[in-house]
Symmetry: C2
Subunit: 318 residues, 2 copies
């Protein structure tokens, strides 16, 4: 099923994620036996966005499989913001809940800024998404406890793939609070020299070509083309873009490709931020799907266990 | 008294700081008339480090001059950490105190990690140094309220000197929590493309030479030499290094220089991280002293007023 025929080593995020989840099982069991209860994870889904519903279901299954006591709170799309905040407060105060994740995005009807208000309301010690400013600050200050799951997963993948970060030139394309900026801070903590590029960057290709480690987190399908990649570089593709134009899929993957066949079955295909031809230039590359995505959930489970352990050490409720 | 004879425009931080302080006076008076009390700043100095004593005295004088109700708490070097933390708690709870600054460093006898424990104990809303993780996180997330004073001062200086940040190549040398990292985040918020270099960076000179805006915050005298600077670049010198070797001063500034004459009077001289000859290459340059230093205090005063206004808006004590 892979359309990555090039020379680049394939960084198998799914396999690494599976390994991490296997390692977590005994650790979760050990916590449960010490604490007299399993780590608890509360998922909150507001509304009926189909993609969000799939994500939450997937997190629920994975958590349960790891031995975490997971409960999904599914609220109608008409739920007032105040009710979501009240639920978060109840979960903050609930001693059996170690991690709280409110699935983004919230319904548009809740108004701009609703997500930020909800994320800020989560007790920092239970913030397994790592979005609370206190956790973002701890990460920036090199004393991270709960890091955002996607960039934390990338670091774990690089580490377990023996890709040297110390002294490496790392270029991050994208500066979101959820991926780009925490990714840059984590790479900096690993002693990489880090450049953050974005829509205002004057010569993005020149920056990208300097990178030993190139992280693409722009949300634009096939944005990173071979000309933007240094031969032998490690390329991490964080993008998950649903493409509905058949011609683009044919152009990028070829007329006989498995991706195009999949498109013809489903009417859409998921494409990363990295053009498939980059595999001819890069030394190592994460596939999409099956690269960074599975690691994000594995890191959520690890954050939940970590939050549980930290709360137990502090003997606190929050 | 200047030893900056080159072509570079001199970015007069002292003049900008004086202008900011003048602007603050009516704003402080307006707050006092609305709130029925002036903004309050508590300074805490533990021990008798002479440089710290000078800094605290200078902050005290500047705050008072701006109309801020400032009180310095001077504690003996033998003060237990618990007593410092108790004082911070009292100041957190004191409704007349808007800003709390504990002068770094604390006495070595307090043990490693003492500063972090004390800084973390300051209520984020009163943290006028911007060191608390919640404030570091808000800064990283582009919704800063209280930014660390030195990098905030640099941004203000660039802005008021009409130096374009949007789309500029910015290179920050140094990755401290107090200067390097928040500096990078603030430049990113201004739409610069930002690279953070440090001791593990492979080819630091090559990075520095790419910079339209080069910020040196390494703490090594005359570290940035002309060969590391792109002709016409803006160079911001954050370093304040006391040098006691006469030969170095003579080498850097010349035998007839005012700096050397000053050295001969005092037995030491303050030198930035940037070699004086950089003035021949740079387009604009901050002097040391008289560049970034005075801005740091001006930003402390501005943070104190901002903290007071935010607390008043929230109607809260902390």
């Amino acid at each position: 099923m892979t359309d990555q025929p090039g020379a680049a080593r394939r960084l198998d995020g799914a396999a690494v994620a599976a390994a991490i989840r296997e390692e977590l099982k005994p650790a979760v069991a050990a916590f449960a036996s010490k604490a007299g209860r399993p780590p608890g994870l509360a998922l909150v889904l507001v509304g009926d966005d189909p993609a969000s519903a799939i994500y939450v279901r997937s997190k629920e299954t994975s958590a349960a499989d790891s031995g975490i006591a997971v409960r999904a709170h599914r609220l109608p799309s008409t739920t007032p913001l105040a009710d979501v905040l009240a639920l978060v407060e109840r979960l903050n105060a609930d001693g059996s809940v170690d991690g709280i994740l409110v699935q983004d995005p919230l319904p548009a009807a809740m108004g701009t800024g609703a997500s930020t208000r909800v994320f800020d309301a989560i007790a920092p010690g239970k913030d397994v998404d790592g979005f609370h400013p206190e956790n973002a600050g701890r990460l920036a200050q090199g004393r991270v406890t709960l890091a955002p799951c996607t960039p934390a997963g990338v670091i774990e993948l690089l580490r377990r793939s023996d890709i040297r970060m110390r002294g490496a030139e790392a270029v991050v394309i994208g500066r979101s609070d959820i991926v780009g900026k925490p990714m840059a801070m984590l790479l900096l903590s690993e002693d990489a020299t880090v450049t953050i590029c974005h829509s205002r960057t004057a010569d993005l290709a020149a920056h990208a070509r300097r990178a030993d480690i190139l992280v693409a987190a722009v949300g634009r399908p096939a944005f990173v083309i071979p000309d933007m990649v240094k031969p032998g570089a490690t390329v991490i593709d964080v993008g998950i873009n649903r493409v509905t134009e058949r011609a683009r899929i044919e152009e990028w993957f070829g007329s006989g490709s498995a991706r195009l066949a999949g498109f013809d079955q489903r009417g859409s295909a998921v494409v990363g931020d990295v053009h498939p031809a980059v595999a001819q230039v890069a030394g190592a590359l994460t596939p999409v799907p099956g690269g960074v995505g599975p690691l994000t959930i594995a890191m959520l489970l690890r954050n939940t266990l970590r939050a549980a352990e930290l709360r137990r050490q502090r003997g606190s409720n929050s």
